[in-house]
């Protein structure tokens, strides 16, 4: 299900707003994932606070959004852009790739929450496809 030109336009357009709020959006998406889907907490046992107020969650949330911004800026070669991150997730972090769908969902929820007028059904579709491609690229090096 490759990204059409329309999809890419939609993703770039909403991301131009999202990238400016990287820390807040990232913290929200991450905190919501940890709270609503408790199995995901197993990867963060070294965090003292998993709430949206946590400094650790803010730092890590920003990293996630910044990495996605990089993917958006290289939307024609997401695999290439995320190659190093894929290696890291595969060999160091070893996050079960089933979890990528969960964080993708909370990212979409946060985009809808912060940008309700911009997050139309077509933009929602484009972002869902984009995050699926990101998830696939992240899992590339696993085996």
């Amino acid at each position: 299900m490759p990204l059409t030109d329309a999809d890419k336009t939609h993703v770039r357009s909403i991301w131009s707003k999202a990238s400016g709020k990287a820390e807040e959006l990232g913290a929200q998406a991450l905190a919501r994932m940890l709270e609503a889907f408790p199995n995901t907490k197993t990867y963060f046992s070294h965090y003292s606070d998993l709430s949206v107020k946590s400094g650790q969650v803010h730092v890590h949330g920003k990293k996630i959004i910044d990495a996605l911004t990089d993917a958006v800026n290289h939307i024609d070669d997401i695999t290439g852009a995320l190659s190093a991150l894929s290696t890291k997730h595969a060999h160091t972090l070893r996050v079960d790739p089933a979890n990528f769908k969960i964080l993708s969902h909370t990212i979409l929820v946060v985009l809808a929450l912060y940008f309700p007028a911009d997050f139309t059904p077509e933009v929602h579709l484009a972002c869902d496809k984009f995050l699926a491609e990101v998830s696939y690229a992240l899992a590339e090096k696993y085996r």
Binding site: E35, A36, L113, Y114, F119, E122, H124, L125
Partner: protein, 147 residues
């Protein structure tokens, strides 16, 4: 039987009281049909659902969205015994409608997203988590009679 904390019950029922069933239902169903277009297979009798604009303007989609959200309301009213309360509805989805239960999750995702867009910051992480749990319980009850 599902264990609900007082906080979860409060989060779910308080938000539900503010939901415009027709509006939220329509928006969620529109998103299901646009974002997961293979779900259109279940709605061949709805007329023109060939593109996003047609889907958004389709009266049958709107009406059905309201029907589905009303059932969500029923689920909330029976949240302590939902598997039992939804026996008939589950059988109906399995034996009459032949809906792949994977689609329940897609609808649930769309509903959570529409609630976020509608309620904004009032859809706090706590409220969001309670609703994801409610959605998971509904999906489980709806899936129960499949065989």
């Amino acid at each position: 039987m599902v264990h609900w904390t007082d906080q979860e019950r409060h989060a779910i029922t308080t938000l539900w009281a503010k939901v415009n069933v027709e509006e939220v239902g329509a928006q969620a169903l529109v998103r299901l049909l646009v974002v997961y277009p293979w779900t259109q297979r279940y709605f061949a009798s709805f007329g023109n659902i060939s593109n996003a604009a047609a889907i958004a303007g389709n009266a049958k989609v709107h009406a059905h969205g309201k029907t589905v959200l009303k059932s969500v309301g029923d689920a909330i009213a029976h949240m302590d015994d939902l598997s039992h309360a939804f026996t008939k509805l589950s059988k109906f989805h399995s034996e009459t409608l032949h809906v792949d239960p994977d689609n329940f999750k897609h609808f649930g995702d769309c509903l959570s997203i529409v609630l976020a867009a509608t309620f904004g910051t009032a859809y706090t992480p706590d409220v969001h988590a309670a609703w994801q749990k409610m959605i998971a319980v509904i999906i489980s009850a709806l899936s129960k009679q499949y065989h």
